[in-house]
């Protein structure tokens, strides 16, 4: 997946200016930047929630348009939103399969199958909840994160967009999410992860993209980057450093 020269303004606020990125199968991109840098906006453009003012998208070499969330889903893009986008008054299982509920006779919901599948899903991801029948409003922040993540993974797409998936988590749970990200990479998915936590970022990502005031300030392989450099880019102390598309990691094919 490649995006070229994407721009987006909210009135006077230029949230994104001329951003180009490419995502490859089996590769994790860490998307970093200060608050208000435009990270969430970029994710929401890719997920079809916002429409880019300018710019174009290519998927496996073909030009594509993303106007609605359904378009993004059709391309295999699954998103964990910063606000998680969960329905508090519904069960864990329904939240995981929201919009893709198993059906019977066309119009009826197969609740049993949904709950069974949810159980399998949560077990595979090594996520422990009291019951998949519990309503989400009774869950803790970390458990909610897990449900949102399970939904995105259950969609089974090739591209996973994670907007601050570890924001509400403790150390151990953060490790677990990082584990999941690594296993997504092994399954040849393309992952974009937004985070403010720089401690493990170089270990779990293949490339780092830094947004600053809506511009792509830095884009570089993680192996050639240090934490101090990243901090320099985020704060703007270090000069822009974009090595766009020049790196071919793991012989990753274009996604």
């Amino acid at each position: 997946m490649r995006l070229s020269n994407v721009s987006k303004a909210f009135g006077q606020v230029k949230a994104l200016v001329d951003v180009s990125l490419d995502l490859h199968a089996g590769e994790v991109v860490g998307l970093l930047g200060d608050n208000g840098a435009g990270k969430s906006t970029l994710i929401k453009i890719l997920s079809g929630n916002y429409h880019a003012d300018e710019g174009s998208f290519e998927y496996q070499g073909r030009p594509v348009t993303i106007n609605r969330p359904a378009d993004a889903q059709a391309l295999g893009i699954a998103t964990v939103y910063q606000d998680l986008a969960l329905v508090e008054t519904r069960s864990v299982a329904h939240n995981i399969y929201l919009g893709r509920e198993p059906r019977r006779f066309g119009y009826f919901m197969d609740r049993r199958k949904m709950e069974r599948d949810a159980n399998v899903m949560l077990e595979e991801l090594n996520i422990r909840l009291a019951s998949q029948k519990t309503d989400v409003e009774l869950l803790s922040g970390g458990q909610r994160q897990a449900v949102a993540l399970s939904r995105a993974i259950a969609m089974g797409g090739n591209i996973l967009l994670l907007d601050e998936p570890t924001a509400a988590l403790g150390v151990e749970q953060t490790q677990q999410v990082h584990h999941l990200i690594t296993s997504m990479r092994r399954q040849d998915k393309a992952v974009v992860v937004i985070t403010h936590d720089l401690s493990d970022i170089l270990d779990i990502t293949d490339r780092i993209a830094v947004l600053r005031q809506g511009k792509l300030w830095a884009y570089a392989p993680s192996s050639e980057t240090t934490t101090n450099q990243i901090i320099g880019w985020i704060t703007g102390v270090a000069p822009p450093h974009v090595r766009n598309g020049a790196v071919e990691m793991n012989n990753g094919s274009d996604q």
Binding site: V87, E88, R90, H94, L98, G99, F108
Partner: protein, 316 residues
Amino acid sequence: MISALKRQDNWTLIGLFITLLMLIALFSWQSEFFFTTRNFINIGQAISIRGLIAIGLTVVMIAGGLDLSMAAVAAVAGMVTASLITLEVNSVLVGVLGIAAAGVLGSFNALLIVKFRINPIIATLGTLLFYRGLAFVSTGGDNIVIGVNAWSELGRGSWLGAPITVWLFLAVVVLGMCFMRFTVAGNHLYAIGGNSEACRNVGIRVDRLRGWTYVAQACLAGLAGLMLTSQSGTALPSALNGAELDIIAAVLLGGIALSGGRGGLLGTLLGLLIIGVVQNGLILLQVQIYWQSVVRGAILIIAVTLDSLRRGGGYR
């Protein structure tokens, strides 16, 4: 079982059920006429017509909407039906056209709310006045008398000892419960009321589903209008005027949240029964008519207070 008890919806239902039993015990003790088959049929008859509208409103509110125009829609449907009957149109066709007219009014509500994004309270307050006005203008304010004919069966007939209106109401309750619980669309309506943005993100057709709830609500109101006309043999442009508040009170009392996503038709049924039993009991005890209005108001206040308490915070 434990998780079933954790759900506040279930506690609401248990509370309502106990309240209902206590009210029945109270009135049975106070009046010898209360605990009789005849009186229970009276209560059933009294709540079934408004109940139909309450069922529709429940579905609208679960999806996070509101409809204040439903009683006016029922009045228009009654007027349309009665004028067609006086023109001696075929009975079945009359029924279909009466409900279709209501459906058109419901589509207009849906258009305002879903397409033009007008707040449902404002939109249906507007259409409430508009539709009520139409009902009056259609005859210049006169009633349409249809008398007793083939049509009267719907409102006055009975089957297996109970009025047809009650059977129809119960049938709609059961169908509605099955729809909301077992179909994908019903579950989506709950989810939309809980978080419509999340539903849009996963590709659920939020606007379309919401729009249909207003049409369905109007069709049920239309059916209620038909039953009322048939029952009284007269179509009144002022039919059910003011009933909106009792209906909303029953729905809120039953545990439906003003904010959507919660509650169910069983709660609404219990809410209707409680209000029905109270109104019936007050009449049997020959409480002065003005006091009945006070009690209706009190029930509405209790219902909104419960709604606010359930949300754990209320108005700020």
